[in-house]
C-alpha cells in the first residue's frame, strides 16, 4: 500500500504524522508542567514539616473558590500559607497569603507595601531602611515608617530581598503577620520565601 502511494500522498501522510507528534508533545509538556506545579505544594509541606490540603467551594455554574493550604508549626511558630483562586463569570481573582504569629506581639497595626525589583522611586510613603544594598532592590512604602523599619530587621530584609520580582503587602496587626501577593506560586521558591519572610518577621521586635 505504501509503495502504491504517490510522492504527494506520502508527503501528506508525513505532515499529518509530524503534526500529530507535535500535538502529542505539546499535550505531554502541558501535563508535565501542571504536575510539576502541583508537586511544589507537597514538596514545600515536607520541607517545612507542615500539612498540605486543598479545598474547593462554590458550584459548577456559579462563583467558585479553589484553595491550596499549607499549615502547621515551624520551630514553634504557627504558620499558614493559602493560595486562593476565585472565579465569578469571567472574573478571576488569585491571591496568596502567608500568615504567622509574632513571638512578642506589639499592640500596633500597620501595613507595608513592598516592591521587589523595580528600583527606588521617590514616593511620599517611601521608607528607606538605611541599608543601601536592600533599598536598591526592595522599596518599602508605609505611613508608619518607624514601625516598618523596626519590623524589617536584617533577617527580614534578607528574606524580602530573596522574593521574586513583584508587589507584596506585609501587614502587622497586633502580632498577626501576613504577607500577601496576587499571583500563583509556580515554583518551590514562591512558597518557601514567603514562609521565610513571615517566620523572620515573627521573630522581629516591633516596639
Amino acid at each position: 500500500m505504501l509503495l502504491a502511494m504517490s510522492t504527494y500522498e506520502m508527503q501528506q501522510w508525513a505532515m499529518i504524522v509530524a503534526g500529530g507528534v507535535v500535538f502529542i508533545g505539546i499535550v505531554i509538556a502541558i501535563v508535565r508542567f501542571l504536575r510539576a506545579q502541583d508537586a511544589i505544594w507537597p514538596a514545600c509541606a515536607k520541607k517545612f514539616g507542615i500539612a498540605f490540603r486543598e479545598e474547593d467551594g462554590g458550584s459548577f455554574t456559579g462563583p467558585s473558590t479553589r484553595s491550596k493550604i499549607l499549615e502547621g508549626n515551624v520551630q514553634g511558630t504557627p504558620v499558614r500559607l493559602v493560595f486562593t483562586h476565585e472565579q465569578s463569570g469571567r472574573m478571576h481573582r488569585r491571591g496568596t497569603r502567608a500568615h504567622a504569629r509574632a513571638y512578642a506581639p506589639a499592640q500596633r497595626a500597620f501595613n507595608v507595601q513592598i516592591e521587589r525589583g523595580y528600583g527606588f522611586q521617590p514616593h511620599f510613603h517611601a521608607v528607606p531602611t538605611g541599608d543601601p544594598a536592600f533599598d536598591r532592590i526592595v522599596q518599602m512604602k508605609c505611613d508608619v515608617p518607624d514601625a516598618a523599619r523596626a519590623l524589617v530587621d536584617p533577617n527580614v530584609r534578607a528574606a524580602l530581598a530573596a522574593l521574586p520580582v513583584g508587589e507584596y503587602a506585609l501587614s502587622y496587626d497586633r502580632g498577626e503577620i501576613c504577607l500577601s501577593f496576587g499571583r500563583d506560586p509556580s515554583s518551590l521558591q514562591d512558597l518557601e520565601i514567603p514562609l521565610h519572610v513571615v517566620l523572620a518577621s515573627a521573630r522581629a521586635r516591633v516596639a
Binding site: 481573582r93 500597620f110 501595613n111 507595601q113
Partner: protein, 184 residues
C-alpha cells in the same frame, strides 16, 4: 537618590492621576462639590443610556423592516412556513428592542438618581487604610479597585500605582465616584 515628594507634591501627583486640583480638594474638604465635578458627575452615564436607546431603535427597525422586506419578496399564495419566518424576524426585533429599551430606562433612572445626588452639592468622606485590588478579566483589560472605609472605588492604573496599600487616606466621594483623596 531623588528626595521623596512632600505632602503637597504627593497630593498634586494624586490629583494629576485622577483629575482633581487643589481647588477641588479644598471644596471637598468643606463637604462641597466643585462646579466642574458637578458637571462631570451629571454627564456621567448619559452616553450609555443614549446608546441603548439607539440600539432599541435599530433592533426594532431592523427586525420589522427586515420582516416587511422579506414579506414583499414573497409571492401569493404565501406559504405558512414563510409567514412564520416573517413573524419570527419581526418578533425577535421587537423583543430585542424591548430588552434594550428596558435597559435604557434603568440607565436613565440611574442617571437621574446620580444627578439628584450631584445637584445636592455635598460629598461624603471615607477614611481609613487603603486596600488595593487588581482584578484580572479574561478577554478584557484589568480593573483597579481601591477600598477605603468600607467604600470601594474603581480607579485608573495611574492612581492605583500612586496609592500605598495599607496607608491611611481620606477619600471624598459621591454616588460611588471617587472625587478626590489625600493621605491622612
Amino acid at each position: 537618590m531623588m528626595p521623596a515628594p512632600n505632602l503637597q507634591a504627593y497630593v498634586d501627583q494624586l490629583g494629576r492621576a485622577h483629575g482633581f486640583g487643589r481647588e477641588h480638594l479644598a471644596m471637598n474638604r468643606a463637604g462641597r462639590l466643585h462646579p466642574s465635578q458637578t458637571s462631570r458627575g451629571r454627564r456621567s452615564g448619559i452616553g450609555c443610556a443614549v446608546f441603548l436607546v439607539l440600539l432599541a431603535i435599530l433592533t426594532i427597525l431592523g427586525g420589522t423592516g427586515g420582516a416587511a422586506f422579506f414579506y414583499s419578496t414573497l409571492r401569493e399564495p404565501v406559504e405558512r412556513v414563510d409567514m412564520n419566518a416573517v413573524y419570527a424576524m419581526a418578533g425577535a426585533g421587537v423583543l430585542l428592542s424591548l430588552v434594550f429599551a428596558a435597559l435604557a430606562v434603568f440607565q436613565f433612572l440611574s442617571v437621574g438618581k446620580r444627578r439628584r445626588q450631584y445637584d445636592g452639592g455635598g460629598c461624603a468622606l471615607a477614611e481609613g487604610p487603603a486596600s488595593k485590588t487588581r482584578v484580572r478579566h479574561s478577554r478584557s483589560p484589568d480593573t483597579f479597585h481601591i477600598e477605603v472605609g468600607g467604600h470601594s472605588f474603581t480607579v485608573g492604573a495611574a492612581l492605583f500605582d500612586l496609592v500605598t496599600h495599607g496607608a491611611g487616606y481620606r477619600v471624598y466621594h459621591l454616588a460611588g465616584d471617587l472625587l478626590s483623596l489625600e493621605p491622612g
